[in-house]
Symmetry: C2
Subunit: 376 residues, 2 copies
């Protein structure tokens, strides 16, 4: 399934012998508009007009030019165009991780909107590292993207002030900026968590654990505060040892569960609220493992929640097919991306109104795990 090495012949022409004046691409040489103009026997500007579909070219001339374009395999150099026009028809998206299901949906929605506006999209993953975030954001600024959508990781975004002043359109998604005011699209994290926890309470739970993301992260503290609100509203006291914040990796979650489900606890928790999809999945995996390994903690409910009721923030694929199916507080990552991108393009189209602040609602999706009653 491989041929010769570097076929010198580009296709279409008799190879060997540099050929006189036909056959498209000569290796390594990018034809320019000047080349096309020379070949078509017209002026440079006429080529430009044809390439850009500008009016004021006789059909015959246009055809001539088009033929030269095809023969030469010409493709307009957008770097040069950008330098001249100042517009790149490209936008940037900086977020935690393109490979994460939540962010990949956001990414997809942004891309869709960008496409509909004729823009291409640079996507970059910050890995939630503030330094990397600013590196990437500034690299995109050097590229002179027309606009930037950021899911910020940093705790200070003043480094973007010069860019904004210079005309960068900027929208923050999922988390607000720090140190400056800009368009922001958020999810109602507190209300969502509150709904989720209230749901558990409505099903008879009073001792509810909370496994959340690091308190460094905006959404995490918002969700925790929703948890506290729901508990307070129900008059349910919170034992601070029920709250476990930290990274979303399996090991940390395992430790947190060990602590939360410690059989020596006098009043064990009967329900659990998890602060994001990765935590929810990690919890499910831990519970399943515990069940396989020890078959001890409570009634081994099939699917991994040993009698423990569970509601998770974020929906995730297959949540509905687990046993029991997992009740979640669903956000709309695609909606987040779409809204942010639409806002960005509105700015690029000249919308000069004051910075907007949009909050998207969440939806509680009962599926089973959140409706399990307490053991009692």
């Amino acid at each position: 399934m491989h041929h010769g090495a570097n076929a010198p012949s580009p296709a279409g022409g008799p190879e060997r012998g540099p050929r006189a004046s036909d056959g498209p691409p000569v290796h390594g040489a990018r034809p320019t508009m000047k080349d096309v103009a020379a070949r078509a026997g017209v002026g440079l500007k006429t080529v430009s007009r044809v390439v850009n579909g500008e009016p004021g070219v006789l059909p015959g001339t246009a055809a001539l030019v088009q033929r030269a374009i095809d023969e030469l395999g010409f493709r307009r150099n957008d770097s040069a165009r950008q330098l001249r026009t100042g517009r790149t028809a490209g936008i940037g998206l900086v977020m935690e991780d393109v490979a994460d299901p939540f962010y990949s949906l956001l990414n997809g929605a942004v891309e869709e909107v960008a496409r509909s506006h004729g823009s291409l999209l640079f996507t970059a993953s910050s890995e939630d590292d503030p330094r990397r975030e600013s590196e990437l954001a500034l690299a995109l600024c050097s590229r002179r993207v027309d606009g930037l959508i950021m899911v910020p990781a940093a705790e200070d975004h003043t480094y973007l002030l010069p860019e904004i002043a210079a005309g960068l359109a900027l929208v923050f998604a999922d988390r607000p900026p720090v140190g400056l005011t800009a368009d922001t699209v958020l999810v109602d994290n507190a209300q969502g968590a509150r709904d989720g926890v209230a749901h558990l309470i409505a099903h008879g739970h009073r001792r509810i654990g909370y496994i959340g993301d690091s308190s460094r992260i905006y959404t995490s503290t918002q969700r925790l505060s929703g948890y506290r609100q729901a508990m307070a509203e129900a008059g349910a006291p919170i034992d601070e040892s029920w709250i476990a914040l930290g990274p979303s990796d399996q090991a940390r979650v395992g430790d947190a569960l060990d602590h939360l489900l410690d059989p020596r606890r006098e009043y064990p928790i009967t329900a659990l609220f998890t602060g994001n999809n990765r935590l929810t999945v990690a919890v499910l995996r831990e519970l399943a493992e515990r069940q396989r390994a020890q078959r001890v903690t409570g009634v081994p409910t099939p699917g991994g929640t040993p009698g423990l009721a569970l509601v998770g923030f974020d929906d995730f694929e297959l949540a509905d097919l687990l046993t029991p199916a997992i009740t979640v507080v669903a956000q709309d990552p695609a909606g987040l991306g779409r809204t942010s991108a639409q806002l960005l393009f509105a700015r690029l189209a000249g919308d000069g109104s004051p910075p907007r602040h949009i909050v998207l609602p969440t939806v509680l999706v009962p599926r089973g795990s959140g409706e399990l009653p307490p053991p009692d």
Copy 2:
């Protein structure tokens, strides 16, 4: 973003009123190297040297320049740089859908490699539409990306010949190109499917259904051929009505299952092989629904496979937590992306060897659903 139109003052000069000669950004005006040079009282080239970390600048001068840079909020214009150097330090990735879990993992791996080489990544989704694929690919070529990784949808890639001739580095991932020879990284689809089906056969099945993607798609036909091979090797005759090819949407899969599980069949299938992750999930969802609705087809195994053994091509998150857990033929989307990207950057670094053709192995992951015995 909005605000005043064209500030006539380039920056740095006293623009009447606001500040005399300090404070970074003057609105709307992007400072250039020339501005920085003027402000620092040095030549243009010296600024260039400092910005690019080139040697041959006295520390004192460099500090002077750096100060001017910071004060002005200067950021190098990469469009101009690219025009001059011919390199964009950017690569492109065209694939079906960034939001798909499989592709988002591939995307993440490509991005990681790009980053390690100092490149930014354009990602574009073709939606499996040939025209869109070529539009996007050519748009990226206009941007003069240094290289392009494509998961092709089109059936003809000759449109890329001029670009290759002009120096574009090009790697095809997951599916081979048509009409030209280029670096290609594939997965051993036939062998993987063969392994999966052989696994079912080893567990006593002889009547095995196959739900696959449209035969338009390369990987789909490869996998189907693996299915046929495994059956042939076992001397198991194939009833062509067991094979259902088509799109991966829920409705189509539902229809296919209706047909496959038709209770009027004299010899019903006892096992099913699904051709990709979306099909597998769609099947699981359909089976779960049937179980809820009718509780008829076979023994209602918890989790949705009513006695039907199931092996799916592609791993997917939570496959291990379903009941029964789903046996899969796992490919490595990240490996696919990483390998492709490494190959691309090797080319960009000057590797001029003949086009390479890499095939990555699959791994059978037994989890339960593929080890269910036939009802008999």
